[in-house]
Each structure stands twice: as C-alpha cells, then as structure tokens.
C-alpha cells in the first residue's frame, strides 16, 4: 500500500514534468519535417499560404524582450485570425542569440520557420561571437522600436547632454558610464555614437558593465555617473525623482506623461539617433512568395488595434519596415556600427 502511494507520487511528478515540457516542445515537434513539405508550399498564381504550423524562434530565454515580442505577436496573429496555422514560440537560448541563429541557419529554405531579432544580430557577429549575421537570413519585417536614454542621478552636476560632453572632452576618464551589457554591445555603443558625434575621444570612454540591474543601483549610489540604457528602464526612476534623463536617442520626443519631458539629443544640437529596432526574419533562401505573405501579415499586425494595446502595455513604439526597406536599413546600420567598433578596437 505504502509503496503504491510512493509510486503514485512519482507518476504525478512525471506527468507534471511532461506537462511542463510539452509547453515548449510540442510546437517543435510539428516542425521537424519542413523538407518534406517544401514542394507543396506554392500555389499556382504566386500566392503562398502556410501549409503547416509555424515555428517562431526567440533566440533567448523566456521573459525577455525577444521572447515577449515573439509570443505577443504570435498570440495576436492567431487570436485575430490573421494567420490560420498554429504559431509556436520556441526558446533557443544562449550566447547572446548565436545559438538560436545557428539553429535558424540549419533551416535554410524553410518557409515555416521565423525568428525575432534586434540590434545584437548586427553587433554580436561584429564582436566575433556569431558565425551568422543578418546577411545569412531573410529580413521579413520590422515591427517595434525602442529608444535608449542617458540618465544621471538627480543631483548630478550635468543638466543636459552638452554639459556632460564638455566635461568628457576635457577629461574622458573623469566620467564613468554604466550599462547592462558588455562593451561592444548596445548599451555601450549607443552612448559612444552620441559621444562621437559631440567630438569626445571615444577610445578613452570609461565603461562598466553591470548585469542584474546593477546599472540603476550604481548611478543611484554614485559609483557610476551615467546610465546608458533603454527609456523604459529609467522612466519610473525619473517619475520618482531619483534620476534625470539628459537625452533620449530618438529623432523626436516620445509620447507619454513622463517620456515627453525627455529631451532628444537632436534638439540639443547633437545630430545623432539610435533606435533599438526589433523585427522578424526568415531563414536564407525563403520563397519570395512566403516572404511577401509574412510581410503583409506583419503589416496587418502592426496596424491592428490589438497589437497597439500590446505595444502600449510594454511601452514599445511602432516602427514598421517591409522586407526590402528593412534589409537596406540593416546594411547601413551594420556599416555604421562596424566603423565605430573599428575605432574602439573591438572589431573581431
């Protein structure tokens, strides 16, 4: 009897495990045989519709920006019946995205595999940490934009970006910049871009990387001077009167009660912008008809009211680009980043 009970508990544990696992793997299973179905993917008049469930890879863990973008867009696309097939999100986490991209590179030619990405797909290969870059995939559509912000403690001596950069021109070593990610990645590069535009010697900028939300902490306790991060990360601290934002990286002021008070760098005379775009890609050699299909669906998604709600919930901005425009944008962006990394000696 007692043994039976023990067995029962184990069976329960196993069922539970299986239930947990299926959440992430079931979507995977449906997709292993893309090769078989390739032939029936096109219809005669050049129209293409998906013939099986679609897998969307988030090249990061659950809960992050890529994961939520993938999940929320899949949810809206299926719930609003824009796409009739199932859309399963699979997390391929690791190496700043490189694990997921390597997986996607194996899906060459598939029309039912998509993935979400943002600036790291340009920066990580430039840093020498991924074999694959955006050139190895098919850009489908960009949907979202985030902007960066440079924040300092409330009682800091600088009231605008120019005052900060004046000090940095005199002695770049006197100011510590803190960001969440490593040098050569987004938080660092966005600051460097503006500093360069203002004429600061960017090779001497002092940058500290502080994971686990250490950036806010370090600026609040005075260990570091400037926090280079996303706008959403500092808005609440500004509302609570703990930090002040010297500049945001967008072209124009952002919408929102607090956000609209943040000055752009442009209006302070520094002609530079930085956008953390986020969009969807397919594998290499995706059928142009399929690209067209997804491009239209993401346009529909971007224009929908349901997705507008999602955007406002997460504090994302709308930024749609179709496949062609997207590709061109990425090429230009990469060239720009490459020259900065070269100057910093971080190019690998």
């Amino acid at each position: 009897m007692k043994k039976l009970l023990a067995l029962l508990i184990f069976v329960l544990m196993l069922t539970f495990l299986a239930a947990c696992g299926s959440e992430d793997t079931s979507s995977n299973d449906g997709n292993t045989n893309d090769e078989d179905t390739k032939e029936n993917s096109g219809e005669d008049n050049g129209e293409w519709t998906p013939s099986e469930s679609i897998e969307i890879v988030a090249p990061a863990g659950a809960g992050g920006g890529w994961d939520t973008t993938a999940r929320m867009s899949a949810q809206v696309l299926t719930e609003e019946s824009m796409i009739d097939q199932d859309m399963g999100v699979v997390n391929k986490e690791g190496a700043g995205g490189a694990i997921g991209w390597a997986y996607m590179a194996e899906q060459e030619g598939s029309n039912h595999n998509l993935f979400v990405s943002s600036s790291p797909i340009l920066l990580v290969p430039l840093n020498g940490q991924s074999e694959y870059g955006h050139e190895d995939f098919t850009p489908i559509a960009n949907v979202i934009a985030d902007y960066g912000a440079f924040a300092v403690a409330k009682d800091a001596k600088w009231d605008n970006l120019n005052e900060l950069f004046e000090d940095m021109k005199e002695d770049p070593q006197s100011v510590t910049i803190v960001g969440t990610s490593a040098p050569g990645s987004m938080d660092h590069i966005q600051f460097v871009r503006f500093a360069k535009a203002a004429g600061v010697d960017i090779t001497k900028i002092k940058y500290v990387s502080a994971p686990d939300a250490g950036g806010v902490t370090q600026v609040l306790n005075g260990s570091a001077d400037v926090f280079s991060t996303g706008v959403a990360e500092v808005a609440e601290q500004v509302r609570a009167d703990k930090l002040k934002v010297l500049a945001v990286t967008s072209e124009e002021r952002l919408d929102g009660e607090v956000l609209s008070t943040f000055p752009t760098a442009k209006e302070q005379g520094i002609d530079e912008t930085f956008v953390n775009w986020r969009g969807f890609f397919g594998p290499k050699d995706m059928d142009p008809a399929a690209v067209k299909y997804y491009e239209n669906k993401y346009k529909e998604l971007s224009d929908s009211e349901a997705f507008a709600d999602v955007r406002s919930n997460y504090g994302w901005n709308e930024m749609y680009m179709g496949s062609e425009e997207y590709k061109q944008f990425l090429d230009e962006e990469k060239e720009n980043l490459q020259s900065i990394l070269e100057e910093l000696g971080l190019l690998k």
Partner: protein
C-alpha cells in the same frame, strides 16, 4: 494613504477568497516545481505571464510571488532525499540534509527543512512589512567595492567548509574559480576559455555544476559501492517528530539566518543561493561543534533553509520599492508587472497600495499553506527512498538529465553535466571536497566582476576599497575571519604545551 491603511488594504486583498485561492495555487505549483531538479521558478513564472494577461493584476502577482517562494520552499526536498538540488538556492541544504536522510532520518530532515523554511519565510515577511519602505536605501547602498568585499568575506570561509586537508579544499576552490571565468567577460565582451565553442559563451550554469558534482557523482558512488549494503541504503525514513533538543538547536540558527538571509536577499545580485551559502558558513563558524557540520547536523540544515526563504522575501524589497530586479526570477516578475499594466518602483506603494501590500500580506498565508501542504506529505515523499536502489539511481539520473535539459534545452549541457559528474566522482575518490568548488564558483564570478568594475571606476587605484564604509567594514571582517582560526589554533597549541 498611510502605511497602516495600506497594510490593512493588503490584508483585505490577501484574505479575500480569490486571494486565498490564488495564493494556494501559486504555492502549490511553486513547491512542485521546486521539488523537480532543474525546473525553477523563472520558467514557471514566464509561462504564467501570457495566462495571466487580463487577470486582476494583484491576484496574478500574488500567485506569481507564491510560485517564487513556493519553489524555494519545495527545492530542499530533492536536495535532502536525492542529493539533487531542486533549485540553485537549495544546494547548501544538501550538505547536511542528505547525510541526515542517509542515516535513516529523512522524515526528520524534511520536517526541519519545512519548519525552518516556514520560519525564515514568516520572519522575513514581518521584516518586509515593517521595513520595506526604509530598506530601499539598503538595496542601493552597495557599490562594486562593497560587493567585492562581501564576496571576499564569503570566500574566507573556504577552509572551514572542508573536512581534512585544507590544501585540497583550496585546490578545489581554485578550480571552482577557474570554471567561473568561462564565458563572455562582461567587462570586455570577450569570450574566455570557450575553445571556440558557442555553447560555452554564456558560461556554465550553476545547476549543471551542482547536479553534476552532487547528484551524478553520488549516483556513480552508489553504483561503484553497490555491494556495500550499508552505504546509503536509507531504507528507514524515521519519525517526523522533532525532539525538544532538535527544536532548541534549530531556534538559534533559524532566527539568526532569517535575518542574515533577508539582508542578503535585499542586495541585488546576491539572492537566495549566496545567502544560503553564507548562512551555512556563518552558522558553522559560530557552532560549538563545527565538526558535526556536513554529517547531518540539524543546525547545518536549518541555517540555509531559513536563509534562502528569507532571502526570497528580501528580493522583493528592491523589486517593489525601487523597481530594480536583483535576479533572473525577479526580472521576469518585473516583466509580469509591466504586462499587467503596473510599474514597480518608488511610486508603487503610493499609486497601488493594494498591489504592494497585497503581495506582502499574501506571503503570510502562502507560508502557512506551504507548511500545511508540505508537512503531511513528508512521509509519502520520503518513501521515494524505499524504492529499490537500482530504480532510485536511475530516477535520480533521469531527473538530473531532464532538469538540466529544461534550463536551456541544450544537449551540450547534458554532456557538461555528465563531465561534472565524473569530476565530482573523482574528487570524492581522492577526498577533494566539493563545497569549496561550488562556493568559489558562485562567489568568484561576482567577485571578479565587482573588482574589475571598481578598478575601472577608480582608474586602477586600489584605495577605492577603503574609501567606502561598507567595504571597509567588510574587509576588516574578512581579515578577522581569516586570522581568527589561525590565532585560535596557535593559542590552543600554546595552551597544550
């Protein structure tokens, strides 16, 4: 609205029938996920986020918080019974919990863990409720030099974590340090010791090492010694009842380590894992019979269990009052807040007192539920040990593999797990203690980063370590902690001669 009114609103939310239902649901899922090696609260909460979309935010968050502390509560079960930690915060619980279970006292060990967890959880909620608004400043008072000094203090205890050869303990720790440096270095963005492998760029996950060095190594050991009938046969489960002596022995460590765990939990980045280790070490340092630690000491189990649960509540201080997530799990929680249309931060308490205080108040109920849920189940869960050895060994192996695979769905991690299992087994054969390895690994990464951050900030001047009061005090404590055992042994030698 004043704080008292806020607290009352919180209790109103927590004691409504929906409140109670969602707390129960949260802690139930949490405790279950905690028990399964590898599956942690991060993935559970992330999976819940889309489900809670559109739900009442307070109830959703009350439930997710329940999953979080429920997992830490339940995580000790597999540490104790199988030497396979359920989540990283309960690795230290296996140091004494597993030996105790092997001595035929599994029931008692689980009861001690449950009661210490309950006490740690409850004490810290009281602290959270009274001091949360004030403690916000503590969370941000630690700069890089202070973190470095804190990790240094933790490391001075390496020698005390080992039985026998200090040299072997130090070798073990150095290897742990070395393993901690694998992966992309955040300060330069360069991969270190990755041998060109993409799989190593993120470094090695703590649970892979913990499950390898403990669970897999134990499996190897049991297989090699299968003919020795006595070695870890653990057929007895023993009584759940704690004697008066046990209760007395527990009370000290539980009280002290709840407080310490709570404070460490408040510090972003430190969290339950580091808190449980430091509490274990601290309790061993002040124990009258430190030689009992590692062999099934009541104190050695009660201390990390009280501490990791207290640290979990502590982690809510920076999250709720500053909007700063100090760990992976709280970062996902922050995401959940945003989805539900709330922004945690300094304004939360004023803008949404029902959320702020509701979550805190629900933790009282959650902890009671956890105790009520766990205690009666102990005899049944502990019966896992009565399963025939070959079956049990296969189950541990299977759960460890599933657990590691669930972290990142990477096959490479499975090979790593097996490799660490072999390393752990060899270490055991040659009497190299595993805990210093683990300790150096978890403290080492953070210690190196905070040292390098400090050096960048100070333009390379070491004086930054002594300019800040917190780091100065911690460094003095480290020196004392290091010198004290040496002085003690010299003194006792003198006395003997």
């Amino acid at each position: 609205m004043g704080a008292i009114e806020g607290i009352l609103t919180g209790f109103e939310v927590a004691f409504s029938w929906e409140g109670i239902l969602f707390v129960l649901l949260g802690v139930f899922v949490g405790t279950f996920i905690g028990m399964l090696p590898g599956l942690g609260p991060i993935s559970a909460i992330a999976i819940m986020i889309p489900i809670t979309y559109g739900m009442d935010p307070t109830l959703a968050l009350v439930m997710m918080a329940g999953v979080y502390y429920g997992a830490v509560f339940g995580g000790s079960t597999s540490s104790i019974l199988l030497n396979a930690p359920g989540i990283s915060g309960t690795v230290a619980s296996s140091f004494d919990g597993y030996p105790m279970a092997q001595q035929g006292k599994a029931g008692k060990a689980l009861a001690i863990a449950a009661i210490s967890s309950f006490a740690g959880g409850t004490i810290s909620v009281v602290l959270l409720m009274i001091f949360a608004p004030m403690l916000a400043s503590v969370a941000i008072s630690f700069g890089p030099p202070a973190y470095f000094a804190l990790m240094l203090l933790g490391l001075t205890a390496i020698a005390s974590l080992s039985e026998g050869s200090t040299i072997k303990a130090l070798i073990s720790a150095v290897v742990g340090f070395m393993v901690a440096t694998i992966g992309i270095d955040p300060q330069t963005g360069t991969g270190r010791f990755t041998f060109g492998s993409m799989n190593l760029l993120d470094g090695i996950d703590f649970l892979v090492i913990a499950l390898g060095l403990f669970a897999i190594a134990e499996v190897c050991y049991l297989v090699m010694n299968r003919h020795k009938s006595s070695a870890g046969s653990g057929k007895e489960i023993g009584s759940l009842k704690l004697s008066k002596e046990d209760a007395k022995e527990m009370s000290g460590p539980v009280g002290r380590q709840s407080l310490l765990g709570f404070i460490l939990g408040i510090l972003p980045g430190a969290g339950a894992t580091i808190a449980s280790f430091i509490s274990y070490i601290a309790e061993k340092r002040i124990a009258k019979k430190p030689e009992e630690f590692g062999k099934g000491s009541v104190k050695g189990l009660a201390a990390p269990e009280a501490s990791n649960n207290a640290a979990t509540s502590g982690a809510f201080v920076p999250l709720l009052s500053l909007g700063i997530p100090g760990s992976g799990t709280t970062a996902v929680m922050l995401g959940a807040f945003l989805v539900l249309g709330l922004q945690p931060g300094p304004m939360l308490m004023g803008d949404h007192p029902e959320v702020f205080w509701g979550i805190i108040a629900s933790m009282y109920i959650g902890n009671i539920f956890l105790l009520v849920l766990n205690l009666p189940l102990i005899p049944y869960i502990a019966r896992i040990l009565t399963i025939p050895r070959p079956l049990l060994i296969s189950l541990v192996l299977m759960f460890s593999l599933i657990g590691v695979y669930a972290i990142s769905f990477s096959v490479f991690d499975l090979y790593l797990l097996l490799a660490f299992g072999v390393i752990g087994f060899l270490m055991r054969m040659f009497a190299f203690p595993a805990p210093p390895f683990i300790l150096a690994f978890i403290l080492g990464g953070m210690m190196e980063q905070s040292l390098r951050q400090s050096m960048t900030i100070s333009n390379g001047s070491i004086s930054i370590m002594f300019e800040n009061n917190i780091s100065l005090v911690l460094i003095i404590l480290s020196v004392l902690s290091f010198a004290f055992p040496i002085a003690k042994s010299i003194w006792s030698k003198k006395k003997a001669s």
